[in-house]
């Protein structure tokens, strides 16, 4: 490799040419397995030396091929992913792992199998509740997943290898959190735009390389004097998927910095470690089902409780957002969702109720995952900034 450029620049290079490293590694004989969303337990891929490669859409590329396989009234992000698959942008993948992230995500696994025909595929039917039985079920599903990955690689996933993988991935989580710590300063040391580039970059390369990149970025950012400007407002973005810098670019082009996020190409996958249990599958199933806070899972205070109180329920589900707002000193919350996202859509009034109850202003933005459609949202964001001023 040539002289490595500095962290942020490297992150940007990977962001712009995501598959380069994966293709290099593939030439060296490694398997590259694609995955959708943050539920397909990456530790288990890493343990077998598989390169996990996250499948993203492209909001700058019109969807032309996917429409004959998924009607347009479905999640434009997933439609875009399939569209790129049909345009052979993911034909290098050795496999694909999907989970029940949502109905469309589940359907997509069958459609992908029928059309894109990635050689290996596995679907994890992640349960929706935190019932004890669901935890056992998730664990059982991971055992099957383990068998499938072992078949793919012809290698055995020993306890030691898996524990080591958990350790490296926990390290990655810690590094991402360290990076987000730097956003607590005012102005934040790293912008929302840069954050997305970094996260997307580490989701395109092996975990150890990602950790190295994160270290470089953190060291660089700590010392930088070309960071974001101080702005009037600090914002938290909650929502579905932001895999492109366009939205934070629009927001940060106004008088605001995105200082924290809870989206699935952001902090959501990295807050909370996997417990190093004796049998690693115990810690992994618990982490992926319980710790990751995505609306696709039904959460409640105590599922055996026969009493119910709305505000308590909201606090149980969303108080972490209040903590984020407090710790990152956010002035308001942007709730963001791609159109036709049911799981986030049902939660919007609840999140708003909760934020209202704790006195945090919020605004809901829905977009159809095209770069151009973001421009009209600018007036809304600016109006929101004027309200919270």
């Amino acid at each position: 490799m040539a002289e490595p450029s500095k962290g942020l620049l490297r992150a940007q290079e990977i962001y712009q040419d995501r598959s380069r490293r994966a293709l290099e590694l593939q030439k060296q004989g490694k398997k590259v397995v694609g995955y959708l969303c943050i539920y397909p337990v990456l530790e288990m891929m890493t343990a077998l030396d598989i390169v996990p490669y996250r499948i993203f859409g492209d909001m700058r590329e019109p969807i032309t091929k996917a429409d004959s396989y998924i009607p347009a009234v479905n999640c434009p992000f997933l439609r875009s992913c399939l569209d790129l698959g049909l345009k052979e942008k993911y034909s290098f993948l050795d496999g694909i792992v999907t989970t029940h992230i949502c109905d469309v995500g589940s359907s997509l696994s069958g459609i992908w199998n029928y059309t894109v025909r990635t050689p290996f595929s596995f679907h994890i039917d992640t349960p929706h509740t935190l019932h004890e039985t669901s935890l056992e079920q998730e664990r059982g599903l991971l055992e099957d997943y383990q068998k499938a990955l072992e078949d793919l690689t012809g290698q055995k996933m020993t306890k030691e290898r898996l524990q080591e993988a958990v350790r490296v991935h926990n390290e990655q989580r810690a590094l991402v959190r360290e990076l987000y710590e730097l956003k607590k300063q005012d102005p934040p040391l790293i912008s929302g735009v840069e954050t997305i580039r970094v996260i997307k970059a580490i989701q395109s390369i092996p975990v150890d390389e990602g950790n190295k990149l994160l270290r470089e970025v953190i060291d660089e950012v700590k010392e930088r004097n070309d960071g974001p400007q101080k702005k009037s407002a600090r914002l938290l973005v909650w929502g579905s998927i932001l895999d492109d810098t366009a939205l934070p670019e629009m927001i940060e082009g106004l008088d605001a910095n995105v200082v924290m996020d809870d989206t699935c190409v952001g902090s959501r996958a990295y807050f909370g470690d996997v417990e190093l249990t004796n049998d690693p599958l115990d810690g992994l199933s618990h982490h992926y089902l319980v710790d990751i806070k995505c609306p696709r899972t039904f959460r409640t205070r105590d599922y055996t409780d026969v009493r119910k109180d709305y505000m308590t329920d909201l606090a149980v589900r969303f108080s972490y957002l209040r903590d984020y707002v407090r710790d990152w000193k956010a002035d308001g919350v942007i709730m963001e969702s791609v159109r036709y996202c049911d799981t986030h859509g049902y939660d919007v009034p609840g999140v708003r109720d909760y934020l209202d109850s704790v006195g945090i202003p919020s605004i809901y933005l829905e977009h159809d995952y095209t770069e151009g459609a973001l421009a009209p949202l600018r007036t809304r964001v600016q109006g929101f900034l004027e309200i919270i001023e």
């Binding site: 459609a373 421009a375 009209p376 949202l377 007036t379 809304r380 600016q382 109006g383 004027e386 309200i387």
Partner: protein, 285 residues
């Protein structure tokens, strides 16, 4: 006594509006012009017109606040604020008890939740021309009617038809079908107004519909839409005498507040160095 003057300019997609006020918040002049293709570079000319009417020169103006779709590219503006805040402020100055303001302009429709004159929350239409002033303009043009006449025509209707297409272009089609089938023009136009009002009513519902409800923007001049909106919201709808001005007036008033705050902090206000440059319009949005 030294007077201070403030100007608000609201560059909408179809109309350019300017209001000049003094520190007593008296309106000294207002101008409303089409932002037609030939006027797009001429925000400065509209400004000149306003100044002439107020018998002032640009150097007399302490603060120019720009708002509206084209607010970013008014070179002689001191600051830009969204039309959301400006409308809320302007409407509250006409109707202090306003709780819900609805503004339907050429490019979009907005609902503003206002309490004690302050903007608390808002909703906006997006994506397409349905439910905006353009909707009526396009259809009026297709029918060869002046858009100003639509209101009067619809009030004659005894039995409105339903217009179900959301796409403006296809609604136009539907209108033609109705007319071809012999439905009287007034019933078709009333149907259009109702389609627009029900769409707007649905949009603003989340903000809770409570009186006073105030309706502004170009479409508020259309008595047919006002009536349809009252029916759909099931409450009276107030319309200011000049419904196009709330944005520009709000901008001028917010400009004044801005200046007063600056003065209170002991800052001085600058005048006399403003140049009325041509607007380089619509750069980014």
């Amino acid at each position: 006594m030294v007077r201070i003057y403030f100007a608000g300019i609201d560059l909408g997609s179809t109309m350019t509006k300017i209001v000049i006020i003094n520190d007593d918040e008296q309106i000294l002049a207002y101008v409303v012009h089409h932002t037609g293709a030939e006027h797009r570079h001429l925000a400065n000319r509209v400004m000149e017109e306003g100044l002439a009417e107020a018998s002032l020169s640009i150097d007399d103006i302490s603060f120019v606040m720009a708002t509206g779709y084209g607010r970013i590219n008014v070179p002689f503006a001191d600051r830009q604020i969204t039309e959301l805040s400006c409308h809320a402020r302007g409407v509250a100055s006409f109707f202090p008890n306003v709780r819900l303001a609805i503004d339907i302009g050429g490019q979009d429709a907005k609902g503003l939740k206002i309490r004690d004159g302050k903007l608390l929350d808002f909703v906006m239409s997006d994506k397409c021309a349905a439910g905006t002033g353009r909707f009526l303009e396009v259809i009026a043009a297709a029918l060869g009617i002046e858009v100003e006449d639509l209101g009067g025509i619809s009030l004659r209707s005894k039995q409105k038809v339903s217009v179900s297409s959301t796409c403006t272009v296809f609604a136009q089609q539907e209108v033609v079908n109705h007319l071809s089938a012999g439905v009287p023009l007034e019933d078709v136009v009333a149907g259009l107004h109702d389609a627009m009002a029900s769409r707007t009513a649905r949009m603003v519902q989340r903000l809770k519909v409570e009186p006073d409800v105030v309706f502004t923007g170009g479409v508020a001049k259309n008595a047919g839409v006002v009536k349809a909106l009252e029916e759909n919201l099931r409450c009276p709808v107030l319309v200011p005498e000049e419904p196009l001005l709330s944005g520009a007036l709000g901008a001028a008033l917010l400009g004044k507040e801005h200046v007063l705050k600056a003065l209170a902090r002991g800052e001085t206000i600058q005048t006399g160095e403003r140049r009325l440059d041509r607007a380089t319009f619509f750069e980014k949005e």
